[in-house]
C-alpha cells in the first residue's frame, strides 16, 4: 500500500474529459428519447387485443429483456453489417443496443402503468363519446404516466449507466477517455477513480430525486 496518489495527470487534459462527457451526454440523450418512445409503442402493442400486434411486441420484449445488453451492442456492431450494404458506426451500434434494450424494459413499465388504471376510467371516457385512441391519449395515459414516473426515472438512470458499454466498441465517452488517460499516463488507479466519481456525482442526485418523487406520489395517491 505504498502507492502515492497523484491526480495531476487526470486533470492535465480537461479537453479529454470534456469530450468524453459530451459523448456520454449525447448517447444518453439519444437512447433516452428512442428508448422511451419505442417503449411506449411496444407497451401499447402488448396491450393490444390483435394477435399480429401483440405477439411480435411480446417476442421483442422477451428477447431484449432476456439477453445481455453488451451482447446486443456487439451483435449490432459486428454481426449486423454483414447483412447491410453500409458500415455501422460505434455510436449507431451502441445506441441501437441500448435503445432497444431500454424500449423492452420501459415497454413493460408502460404496460403495467396502463393496466393499473381501473376499467371505470375507460368506460367513463367511452360513455362521453371518446374513441379508444382518444380515451388512451386524454384519460388513461396522463394518469398512468404519473404512476410510472419513478420507474421511468429509474430507467433513465440505468440508461446513463449503460452508456459506458459504448466504450466496448470504442465510442468516445467518459469511460473510453478514462482508458485513454490511463494508458497514456500509466495512472489507472486515479483515472478510473475519477471516472467512477464523476458518474457518482452526476447520478447520486438523480437517484435521491427519484426517492423523493416516489414518496411524494405515494402520499398523493
Amino acid at each position: 500500500m505504498n502507492h502515492r496518489w497523484n491526480f495531476d495527470a487526470v486533470w492535465a487534459n480537461p479537453e479529454a474529459l470534456l469530450a468524453g462527457a459530451a459523448g456520454t451526454l449525447r448517447i444518453f440523450a439519444i437512447c433516452l428519447v428512442l428508448g422511451l418512445s419505442l417503449g411506449l409503442l411496444v407497451g401499447l402493442g402488448r396491450y393490444s387485443k390483435r394477435k399480429w400486434i401483440y405477439l411480435p411486441a411480446s417476442a421483442f420484449v422477451e428477447f431484449f429483456r432476456n439477453t445481455p445488453v453488451l451482447v446486443q451492442i456487439l451483435w449490432f456492431y459486428f454481426a449486423l453489417p454483414m447483412l447491410l450494404p453500409f458500415e455501422i458506426s460505434p455510436l449507431m451500434a451502441a445506441a441501437l443496443g441500448i435503445s432497444l434494450n431500454s424500449a423492452a424494459f420501459s415497454g413493460e413499465i408502460f404496460r403495467g402503468g396502463i393496466q393499473s388504471l381501473e376499467r371505470g376510467q375507460w368506460e367513463g371516457a367511452q360513455a362521453l363519446g371518446m374513441t379508444q385512441g382518444q380515451a388512451m391519449r386524454r384519460v388513461i395515459l396522463p394518469q398512468a404516466i404519473k404512476r410510472m414516473l419513478p420507474a421511468l426515472t429509474n430507467r433513465a438512470i440505468e440508461i446513463f449507466k449503460m452508456s459506458t458499454l459504448a466504450s466496448a466498441v470504442a465510442y468516445v465517452e467518459l469511460l473510453q477517455q478514462g482508458k485513454l488517460i490511463a494508458s497514456i499516463h500509466y495512472n489507472p488507479i486515479e483515472a478510473y477513480a475519477v471516472i467512477a466519481l464523476l458518474f457518482f456525482v452526476f447520478l447520486y442526485p438523480m437517484v435521491q430525486a427519484t426517492y423523493v418523487l416516489e414518496r411524494r406520489l405515494r402520499q398523493g395517491d
Binding site: 451482447v71 451483435w75 459486428f78
Partner: protein, 225 residues
C-alpha cells in the same frame, strides 16, 4: 444476398460451451460471496448506530449508482497495482461482481427485513430473545421467503452483467464468441448463436422466477421488490 453458414460455428461449439461454463462459474462465485456480503451490509445499514449505518449506506449507494463497467476497470487495472498483488482475470472479475451484486442484494435483504411487522421482533424480545436471536430465528426466516423472487431476479441481472468481463479478456461466453468470430470470419452466425444461447439460459431462469412468484402469491405470501 448474404449466404448464412452455421457449419464453422457448429464445428467450434466446444469454444462456446467452454465460455458458457466460465460464465456460469463466475456467476456462481459472485453469488456465493455477494449474498452473505449483502446480508452483512443490510444488517449494518439497519443498525441504530450511525457509525455503522452511514458507511454501509454509502457503500451500497456508491456501487448501485456507478456503472458496473467502470467498477470492473478499476478493480481490474487499478486494484492489483494499489495492493501490489497479481490477479487473474477470474479473481478480479469475481471480486468486482461479488461487491457489486452485494450492494443490490443488501437492498433486497433490507426491503425484506423492514417488511416484517414490528410485532414479530417485539414478541421475540418478549420471549427473552436477544436482538440478534430475534433477527436470526424470527425475522430473517420470514423475510427470506418474501425476498425469493427479487433475489432470483437479481441473480439473473448478475448473470447478464458478467458479460462485461469479455472487455477485460476473461474467457466467458461473450469473449469466446468474439474470438470465434475473428477466427471463422463469421460474426453474424457466431454472435447470433451466442445471443440465442444467452436467451435460452436467461429466459428459462425467468420462467422459473415467474412460477415461484405465482406459487408464493397463491400461498398468500407477499413479496418484496
Amino acid at each position: 444476398m448474404y449466404q448464412w453458414d452455421f457449419a464453422p460455428v457448429l464445428a467450434n461449439s466446444g469454444m462456446l460451451a467452454a465460455g458458457l461454463v466460465n460464465t456460469l462459474k463466475l456467476t456462481a462465485t459472485a453469488l456465493a460471496f455477494g449474498v452473505p456480503l449483502g446480508l452483512g451490509l443490510a444488517l449494518l445499514r439497519l443498525s441504530r448506530f450511525r457509525l455503522l449505518s452511514l458507511p454501509a449506506g454509502f457503500v451500497v449507494e456508491f456501487f448501485r449508482t456507478t456503472p458496473p463497467l467502470v467498477q470492473l476497470f478499476w478493480f481490474f487495472f487499478a486494484l492489483p497495482i494499489l495492493i501490489s498483488v497479481e490477479m487473474t482475470p477470474f479473481v478480479a472479475a469475481a471480486i468486482t461482481f461479488s461487491i457489486q451484486s452485494s450492494a443490490f442484494f443488501a437492498e433486497v435483504f433490507r426491503a425484506g427485513i423492514v417488511s416484517i411487522d414490528r410485532g414479530q421482533s417485539e414478541a421475540a424480545r418478549a420471549l427473552g430473545m436477544s436482538g440478534a436471536q430475534a433477527m436470526r430465528r424470527v425475522v430473517l426466516p420470514q423475510a427470506v421467503k418474501r425476498m425469493i423472487p427479487a433475489f432470483m431476479e437479481r441473480s439473473i441481472e448478475l448473470m447478464k452483467t458478467t458479460t462485461l468481463v469479455a472487455t477485460v479478456s476473461y474467457a466467458d461466453l461473450l469473449f469466446q464468441a468474439n474470438e470465434l468470430a475473428q477466427k471463422t470470419f463469421r460474426p453474424l452466425e457466431v454472435f447470433t448463436v451466442t445471443a440465442l444461447i444467452y436467451f435460452v439460459v436467461i429466459y428459462a431462469a425467468s420462467l422459473v422466477v415467474h412460477r415461484v412468484e405465482r406459487r408464493l402469491a397463491t400461498s398468500g405470501e407477499t413479496t418484496v421488490h
